[in-house]
Symmetry: C2
C-alpha cells in the first residue's frame, strides 16, 4: 500500500526578534505552531537587522558586481550585516528550543517542529529597505557595474532531530518538505526583483558542510544564474529548431533506450544524464511537462515524496567499503523555471550529484575545470547507471 | 641589476618507449639533452600505445559528449588507454633516472634535466590514429552527440628537484618554463583539430594534488572551453560596442585608480579583478596588447620571469598562522587566444586563484555555485588587494 502522503500542512508565518521571517510547516497533530504552550516568542536580544548603527549609518546589504570579462554577476557577501551574535562553533542553531531555558542560541523558538523555513541570519543576498535594483558604476568606470545583491537566502530545516537526514525522514515529512519548497517558490517568485528560486541541499563534510542537522537552503536570486541562463538559451534554441520542449525530448530519449534509467514511478523518472560530469550524478524529472514545483499536482507530489526517498536510499548504497555502505556526500538542487520568463520552455528537474569518486577519494576541480570550465569525467554515465540499477 | 634571463634554450624532442613525445628544454651547460652519456633511451617495456590489443581490437581514445541541456562538451576519460603500467603510489614518475638502474618507474629517461615536457600517459584528451573530429550520434538519437576527445594532455616538469616549487626556481629556469609554454602553444595551436591551448598549474594537497614534484599541465582542447567561449563572446560584444579591446580597457581602468593593483613592472601589471570570485585571486597581464605567450617579446618574457616569481613570493606570504607563512595552494592558468579565431579581440592573462580562505579553511563550491554557477565571495577584491599591497 502506498503511504498516505496527502498534504495536511498547516503554514504559520512568524517573525524572529530581529525581524526575519520564520515559517512553520506542521503536518502532525498537535500542530506545533498551533499549541501556544510549545511555540515561543524569540527570546533573544537580537537588534533589528535594519536599524541604524551607533554612528547613525544605515546598514548596507551585500553587493553584486558584474565580471567585465564574462558579463556574469558575482555576489560579494563580505558586506554582511552585524555578525555580533554568531553562535558558538559547537552550537546547533537548528535545534528546537529547550523548555524553560532563559536564553537559547537556537534560531527556532519552538520546543519542537516538523519543518521550518526561515531567513538566513548571514545572507549572501538581502533586500535592505530602500534598496534599488538599478546598476551603478563604481568610481564612474563603465566596466565596474555594481548593484545591490537583493534577493533572499532561506534555510529549510527538514527535521527537528539533529541526527536524522533527508533520507531518513518519513514519506509524510518528505511531502511536507515538498510543500515548503513549493510554497517558498511561489512566494519568492512573486517578490520584487527576484528572477529565479533555487532550492538545494549540501550534504556531507566532504563538501564543507559543518552543520549536520538536516537542512537545505533556498536562494532567491535577483538575476538569472549563469548555468540557468545557459539552460534557458539551449531550451529556446531547441524550441526554435524543433518546436518541442527540450527537457521532454531528453526524457523521451532516455526512456526509449533505458540504458541510463535507474528508477521509475507512476509520475517520475530518474536517470543518469547522457553527459554526466560528476562521479555520481542523477536527474529526477516528472513524466509530465511541469515548469516548477508549485505546478506539480497532488498525485505528483505524493509520488515524489516516496520516489525521492527511494533514490536517496539507493545513493547511500552506491559506495561500499569493507561491506559498509558509505553515506553519499552530495549536492542536490531543483532547476525550476525562472520567475519572469521561459516557463513554456522549461521543464522541472532535480539534479543530484556527488564529488565522491570512490570511498575516501574526491573529485577536485582543478585548472581545466575551475579555470576554463572544461569538464573531464573519470567514469562514464553508463557505469554510474549500472551501479544504481544493480542496487535496485 | 636585473638577472640575465635571455633565452638560451636548447629544445630536444625525443620519444618514450610507447611512442609518446618527450621534449627537453635545456638552459645550462652541459646541456642535459646534449650529453649522450646522461640521456638514456627509455628502458621500459611499455607497449606501443596504439598497438592492437590481444583480441585484435584497436585502442579507442577518450570520448566527448555534448550535454544536451547546456550544449557544452564533457570529456569522458574512463575509456583511457591500457593502465597496466601504473607506477606504485609512492613512486615519483617525474624524478630523473637513477644512474645504472636497470629499470625505473620514472617517465623521464635522463639522469638530470632542466625543464621537460611530455605527453601524459593517461590523457583525458588523445588523438588515436585514424580518429575523426566528426560528430556522431549515439544510438541514432539527435540529442546524444559524441565525438572523439582528440587533443592532447602534456605534463611540464618545472625542475628535476622534487622538493622545489615554481616559486623557488631561478629566474633563468622560470624563463625556460615560459619558453616551453610558448613553444608548446605554437606547436599545439598548429595541430589538427586543436581549438585552444590551456597551460595551468595545480599546487597543493588542498586541491587534490598528490604528486608534489613541481609540475604543470597543458591541455590542447578540440573545442572552445565554455568559459573561454564566454570570454571571447564578451570581448567581441565589447569591440562591437566600443571598437576597443576589452582586456585593454579592463587594465586601463585598474591602472587609472590603482586600488586593486598589487604589482607593476616595466612590462607587466598584476591586479585583483573587480569581481574576484575566489578568496584569493590575481590577474597578471602584459601592458601591451598581446594575444598569447608566443606573441611576447624577448623583453616581455624576461620581465615575466622575475615578475611571476615575485608574485608567487608574495602569495606565499598572504596567509600567516602563528607567525608561519602558509604556502598558498593555488590554481593558475594562462588564458590565451583561441587557436583559430578571435586573436584580434583577445588579450593574454594569467589567472591565479586559491580556494584557501583562511589557514586551514577552504572555500567549497556548494549548491549555488556547482548547481547553477551563481558565485558568492566571502571577501571583497579590495580586501584581497590590500593584503597583497601590504606584503610588498
Amino acid at each position: 500500500m502506498t503511504p498516505d502522503t496527502r498534504a495536511r500542512v498547516r503554514v504559520t508565518p512568524t517573525r524572529l526578534a530581529d525581524g526575519r521571517e520564520l515559517i512553520y510547516f506542521d503536518d502532525s497533530e498537535p500542530y506545533v505552531s498551533g499549541g501556544a504552550t510549545r511555540r515561543l516568542d524569540d527570546p533573544r536580544p537580537l537588534p533589528d537587522r535594519f536599524a541604524p548603527a551607533a554612528d547613525g549609518h544605515l546598514p548596507t546589504g551585500p553587493e553584486l558586481r558584474r565580471d567585465p570579462l564574462t558579463g556574469e554577476w558575482v555576489a560579494m557577501a563580505a558586506h554582511r550585516m552585524n555578525r555580533t551574535f554568531l553562535p558558538p562553533a559547537d552550537a546547533n542553531p537548528l535545534a528546537p528550543a529547550t523548555p524553560g531555558a532563559a536564553y537559547q542560541d537556537g534560531e527556532i523558538p519552538a520546543e519542537d517542529y516538523d519543518v521550518v523555513v526561515f531567513e538566513n541570519r548571514f545572507p549572501s543576498l538581502l533586500r535592505v529597505p530602500g534598496a534599488s535594483d538599478e546598476v551603478t558604476l563604481l568610481d564612474d568606470e563603465d566596466l565596474w557595474e555594481t548593484r545591490a545583491a537583493t534577493g533572499r537566502c532561506e534555510v529549510v530545516c527538514f527535521s527537528s532531530d539533529a541526527t536524522a537526514s533527508l533520507r531518513t525522514v518519513s514519506p509524510q515529512r518528505m511531502r511536507t518538505i515538498i510543500e515548503a519548497w513549493a510554497h517558498r517558490t511561489t512566494a519568492l517568485n512573486a517578490t520584487e526583483g527576484v528572477e529565479q528560486v533555487f532550492a538545494f541541499e549540501n550534504r556531507g563534510k566532504e563538501i564543507g558542510v559543518t552543520l549536520h542537522h538536516p537542512h537545505g537552503q533556498i536562494y532567491a536570486l535577483p538575476y538569472l544564474a549563469p548555468r540557468t541562463a545557459r539552460m534557458l538559451e539551449t531550451a529556446r534554441e531547441h524550441r526554435a529548431r524543433t518546436g518541442r520542449v527540450l527537457g521532454r525530448d531528453v526524457l523521451e530519449a532516455e526512456l526509449r533506450h533505458g540504458t541510463r534509467v535507474v528508477l521509475e514511478s507512476e509520475h517520475w523518472v530518474a536517470y543518469v544524464p547522457f553527459a554526466a560530469r560528476w562521479p555520481v550524478e542523477v536527474h529526477l524529472v516528472p513524466r509530465r511537462d511541469v515548469p516548477d514545483l508549485p505546478a506539480l499536482s497532488d498525485d505528483e507530489r505524493a509520488d515524489l515524496a516516496t520516489t525521492y526517498l527511494e533514490l536517496l536510499r539507493r545513493l547511500d548504497l552506491f559506495f561500499v567499503d569493507d561491506d559498509t555502505a558509505i553515506p553519499l556526500p552530495y549536492i542536490s538542487g531543483w532547476h525550476q523555471a525562472p520567475a519572469r520568463q521561459g516557463r513554456e520552455d522549461w521543464r522541472l528537474s532535480l539534479q543530484l550529484f556527488s564529488v565522491l569518486r570512490a570511498p575516501g577519494k574526491l573529485k577536485y576541480l582543478a585548472g581545466v575545470e575551475s579555470g576554463v570550465a572544461a569538464w573531464v569525467s573519470d567514469t562514464t554515465p553508463e557505469r554510474i547507471a549500472r551501479r544504481l540499477q544493480e542496487i535496485a
